[in-house]
Symmetry: C2
Subunit: 390 residues, 2 copies
């Protein structure tokens, strides 16, 4: 990073944070009178009463709503297209993304396709996408019930084109949520292993954004605070999901890491994971990142030594004089969260797929490789996969 | 602050930061085709060519402009009203505030009065103001040429009602600039004593916002980084105004401190200074703050000991175990900036005015006293003035 950096900061989203803040949905000025609520195909939004609560609060705010409930953990383009069509037919004014990153990311993509013709991939500027410009989108309200993606504080939407086997992140100023309500009380029911996967997703948003060659003074500020909070509180939240203080700290760290994504960027670790999920949609995003993380961060250990030591210091709160202190702290954190040494083969990845995944990572999310601390060769990328395989 | 705080973050302003970034005025999407450029009655905007440059860049961006050049260091209501009238007559679409806080604050107030009838004080919700609601305002672009007010990153506008002797801060979501360009190259010509006054204004925005009982995790993050940067780089910028690295660090700290004002709030130190400036408009705002600061921060020394020690630690980068370490560091910083022991009597304040200023501070900016770490008595406020008098 330059000594006199040039950078920008523009986060138009209004963020409301805190236990119980969901109730503000009944009193905030909303961007319309009819909402499409987007949730996953799972049962939790209904089982825990979150969906009913959101419908009720919208009603209190004189807003009717309909529900689209088919979103998969790795959300797919055909659902985006279907929901956008429902949205047009039903004349919805805005979209509410309720749930994990998959629902909120889908809400953003649906908001785009509710106002633009053709296919969603026509607008994707990577892979087999056509890169048509997006000039309008419906407003989105994000209500995360997990702490990991940070999508509530950034413009990005990650959707998988199931035919093309491409999982690509896309967004613009138009796809920042207009309002995000982060209420840690909605997160207490997440089981320990998912808490860990999601929390590490946030951790890597921050760590990658801190190492990216486009990092700025403002993204660094957000990143280091997210890293500090996650190192301290993620193991607590994993061990005791009812601990609201830890849940709140992890939720805030995740939002901060979203701000990192809005002001810096992920690097090739995310490209590599997207390729893995594109081949194995059942692989949880966070666990894929965890699986490759040790080998991945080893690769850049001597390329940005000061930044590794800075991350180690903010984690351990002790002076660091070796970049490997960061790897040590990362391993310790993974052990405390019971997610150390996840392996790609655990999720059915086959060894012969690894070279194909290298190619897929380059083809679909190649731009993130240009933000790495130094250029990686295909051989190095393959080695990271191989070291993380078994 | 609560262990599980509830807070919000909403900074709609697009901030462009960096040396040379002023040129982006020629390429950014502007909120209209005709601008009213608001500058001070001083000579520097013309002498250093900043005004010509801005006019030229707006032209490149197909935007015409007219200039209002009467703003005083403590800007007054009658100029706001006059400029708003010019703005209506000339059918300007937006306002550019170019210069120090006085010009940018005036630009915000002019933006309000260009769209609302009656008198500016009809809309002020304190002092003798009538508190009418503001529902619209023209867009504002802020181009600061000083590093101190932070007004480029917050909604506040501080205007003096010269008849009522009231200097009151006011703003809403509508008065956030839509675009702020912070270019440290525009700041190299500021003389050392003004660099120090302005830099300490930023420092107190951060320190007060960190002590305010409405501080939040996000305002704390901005505040501590602003305090760290100013302690380290303000003395460098004061000693060598051509040092662009130091200028950039101080400018960024000032913007961060503006973000503190947008997410937390100043406390009664600012109310006390506003009363001083209301009586003595020739008193530079920053020097008034410096003059009362030692006595002021002594007053709360045992009320938020951890936060004092945290500020001391971020300044000195050493472990602190006494709240007075912060006062010591503050004094050291003032000595290095050649502004230690400024006294109210140096600016012609008379001893018999002090009780009147106590009353004025309560009447006009009383709300900030409610955000203090603990309630101050009038006697305590008077004592701070008295200790800072001679």
């Amino acid at each position: 990073m330059n000594a006199n950096p040039v950078f920008s900061l523009h986060i138009p989203t209004k963020i409301l944070f805190g236990c119980g803040e969901l109730r503000k949905l009944a009193t905030e000025k909303l961007p319309g009178k009819k909402a499409l609520i987007v949730i996953s195909s799972g049962t939790s939004m209904k089982k825990y009463g979150y969906l009913d609560k959101v419908v009720e609060l919208l009603q209190e705010n004189n807003t009717e709503s309909i529900v689209y409930d088919k979103i998969l953990p790795n959300p797919i383009k055909s659902h985006v297209m279907e929901a956008a069509s429902v949205c047009r037919e039903q004349k919805c004014d805005f979209i509410v993304g309720l749930g994990g990153g998959s629902s909120i990311d889908s809400a953003k993509a649906i908001a785009v396709m509710a106002c633009n013709d053709g296919d969603y991939w026509d607008y994707i500027p990577a892979g087999s996408g056509k890169g048509r410009p997006v000039t309008k989108a419906l407003p989105v309200i994000a209500i995360p019930t997990t702490a990991g993606t940070g999508t509530e504080a950034d413009p990005w939407s990650v959707i998988t084109n199931e035919e093309a086997k491409e999982k690509i992140g896309f967004g613009s100023t138009l796809t920042f949520p207009v309002l995000s309500i982060i209420d840690p009380e909605l997160m207490v029911s997440i089981p320990p292993h998912l808490t860990a996967y999601q929390g590490f997703d946030a951790f890597f948003h921050a760590a990658e954004g801190f190492l990216a060659n486009c990092a700025t003074p403002i993204s660094d500020l957000y990143a280091l605070e997210a890293i500090r909070l996650l190192y301290k509180y993620l193991p607590v939240a994993v061990k005791d999901g009812r601990n609201l203080k830890a849940r709140a700290k992890v939720a805030w760290a995740s939002t901060l890491a979203g701000l990192v994504e809005a002001t810096s960027c992920c690097i090739s670790e995310h490209s590599m994971e997207h390729a893995m999920s594109a081949f194995h949609p059942e692989l949880p995003h966070g666990s894929g990142l965890i699986a490759i993380s040790e080998a991945y961060f080893e690769t850049f250990r001597n390329d940005c030594m000061k930044r590794y030591m800075k991350m180690a210091e903010i984690m351990t709160q002790q002076k660091s004089n070796r970049p490997s202190d960061f790897i040590d702290a990362l391993v310790r954190m993974q052990k405390e969260c019971n997610v150390y040494q996840l392996k790609l083969s655990d999720w059915g990845v086959k060894e012969e797929e690894l070279p194909l995944m290298v190619q897929n990572a380059r083809d679909t999310m190649g731009s993130l490789f240009t933000l790495d601390p130094r250029p990686l060769t295909d051989e190095e990328v393959l080695q990271i996969y191989q070291k993380s395989f078994r």
